[in-house]
Amino acid sequence: MWSKVFYFTMVPMVYAAVAIFIGGLIFKLAVVLFSKRFKGSLATYPKRLPRPVGVAVEALAVPSAFKKDKVFWLFILAFHISFFLLFIGHLELIREFKWIQLIPHEVFLGAGAVGIVLIISVLYFLFRRFRSPWREISVPEDFFILILLFLTMFLGSHLHLSARFYAGGGAFDIPIEAYREYLSSLLALKPVVPDGIAYSPHYVLVALHIFLANLVLILIPFSKVVHMVFAFLSLDLKRK
């Protein structure tokens, strides 16, 4: 029975999660882009940079956080940069990309540091919300998403670091090739869960990691994480 549950998590649920993620984002964008436009301007001044540059700087460098709280700003940047590196790292779990290997490295880039930085950042965001005044403005969604991200990243980091630690044989026996076979088969729409994963005693951890990652993907369009897209649009309004 558990093998069926794991297979469901590893295959049909992944397809469903990706479909909901992409469909959800398209739906959300369609809803806002077809909703009534504001006839005037919501701009604030001064406009020191050209519009696209200004939006990019504000969205990516978060100067408002830098001015207000430098520790928070550091964690915001650490989290978002690491998240980007994490995305690249997962691309490498599909197959090898030459452009990613410009800096020669073993999968993942950062030798495990990226995951650790993400975990620390998420814990900082979470514990920050336990304190006043952030505790008062937080809603259950805020805690749930951070806990979900923490668990996903913790398991992912554990799988990665263990594989790295036991590389060449040992207790942790899921080789990188098994992940590549699994993910590329998903991409090719000929899904298989390779023996390297399915017969590993750590299959449960992989399945749990994938399950949590599926939940993250499903939640992105319908939670505040949608700021990954909307931040650029709302900042653009400020400069129109």
Binding site: V31, T44, P46, I137, A231
Partner: protein, 419 residues
């Protein structure tokens, strides 16, 4: 709360959900960076007066009635149902916000709490709990727009009396025509306020610059906007737009009233004429040499308060400073300044309400700023700001004088000999 009333309020929530509101509802991460960027929170540090605290009240209602998650899992985002207690929170949020948008400048996503509070005010109007003073003033402005012909003759007589003050100041031989009205093809349509000062000082400046101008029959202030009624806001603004188009003017110049300026310049869409603040026009005349000022004629320390709607929300920062620097020898900048300047606490219609204690408390940030400059004269360019700065002066016993920029200019005008 009655079901019909809830339905009406729900329909308002849905009708207000335009593109910016959708962004603002979905994007906020409650990071709290904006938390202490509000002058009200600075004066009274409680969650309800923080920008995110305020916005969340409306966002939770929007979530409840416009999002499936709010219907299916209300606890997920703390979605709230409409009810009397919630509408009390809506009232506190809306009527403690001046719409200064300092929080927007400090928000990583550029969320405009002023827009969200526009929804809150609209809900209160529909619920019948909006401040009556503002509703009455908005209704009076709408009524004037509908029956302007009844007002014209009486208004012309009042204006004729004001022409004598302009004549006296400029040492001119006759008062006739110094404040022209209904002048077809004038370059400028100037829109003042109800107070004589808002017409006399600009008239002195227009005459000194020999401008081809005419005075509007309407007052610039938009009580519909303050009250939060989009239909009345539009009607009141359209009175001026129609008058400008009928007179075929090239430029509409708005009195020292930040909100009136921003509404016409930024919120009414593209217009067939230029919209300027009187501050920009004074600066233009000074730079072109059409108006001459007595240089360094004020030796007392002077500071300038950026009205939020003129500076942060209108982009008029340097013009007033350039004019003041020509007149005063000891100009002192406030800190923080320009887009980070603290709101005085009187905008958004708050100054028209019976809330002086609240405004004194929430004016603490402005008081601290003024005191830190050591200035004896505070110049500004907004009717609401002047009223509120005078309230702060009284409330904290400050030894300062509050002046309009146009007033300072007129006091220090280098008068040419009469022709």
């Amino acid at each position: 709360m009655e079901k019909e009333k809830i339905q009406e309020l729900k329909s308002i929530l849905k009708s207000r959900l335009n593109r910016p509101l959708r962004y603002y509802t979905d994007t906020c991460t409650r990071c709290g960076i904006c938390y202490d960027s509000c002058h009200a929170f600075y004066g009274i540090p409680k969650k309800e007066y923080s920008p995110v605290g305020r916005a969340e009240v409306v966002r939770k209602l929007l979530k409840k009635y416009t999002r499936p998650s709010g219907f299916l899992f209300p606890y997920w985002g703390d979605a709230m149902k409409l009810g009397d207690a919630v509408l009390d929170q809506v009232f506190e949020a809306a009527w403690s916000c001046t719409g200064c948008r300092r929080c927007m400048v400090n928000c990583p996503f550029g969320i405009d709490t002023g827009q969200i509070m526009g929804v809150a005010k609209h809900l209160l109007i529909e619920n019948g709990t909006a401040p009556e003073e503002l509703i009455m003033l908005a209704d009076a402005a709408v009524e004037k727009g509908k029956s302007i012909d009844q007002f014209k003759e009486g208004y012309k007589q009042v204006i004729h009396d004001l022409e004598k003050e302009v004549q006296k100041k400029l040492n001119l031989p006759s008062p006739d025509g110094l404040i022209p009205m209904e002048k077809q093809g004038a370059d400028i349509l100037y829109v003042g306020l109800a107070g004589a000062h808002s017409i006399v000082n600009p008239a002195i400046i227009f005459n000194a610059a020999k401008a081809n101008w005419t005075l509007s029959f309407f007052e610039a202030v938009n009580f519909g906007f303050f009250a939060g009624d989009p239909d009345k806001t539009n009607f009141i603004a359209q009175r001026i737009i129609k008058e400008a188009m009928a007179l075929n003017v090239k430029e509409v110049v708005i009195v020292e009233c930040g909100t009136a300026f921003r509404i016409l310049r930024a919120l009414m869409g593209k217009l067939p004429f230029r919209v300027s603040s009187i501050v920009e026009v004074i600066h233009r005349y000074v730079e072109e040499g059409k108006v001459k000022l007595n240089k360094n004629s004020v030796s007392e320390p002077v500071t300038y308060h950026d009205p939020c709607q003129l500076g942060r929300n209108g982009g008029v920062f340097e013009e007033p400073r350039a004019v003041i620097r020509k007149i005063v020898s000891d100009y002192r900048e406030m800190s923080p300044t320009r887009e980070q300047n603290w709101c005085c606490g009187g905008g958004g219609g708050l100054v028209a309400l019976d809330n002086e204690d609240f405004r004194i408390k929430t004016g603490k940030a402005k008081k601290d700023q003024i005191v830190a400059t050591g200035a004896k004269i505070v110049v500004t360019a907004c009717e609401n700001c002047v009223s509120q700065l005078k309230t702060i002066k009284g409330g904290y016993g400050l030894d300062i004088e509050v002046k309009y920029l146009s007033e300072l200019v007129c006091e220090n005008l280098a008068i040419q000999s009469s022709e």
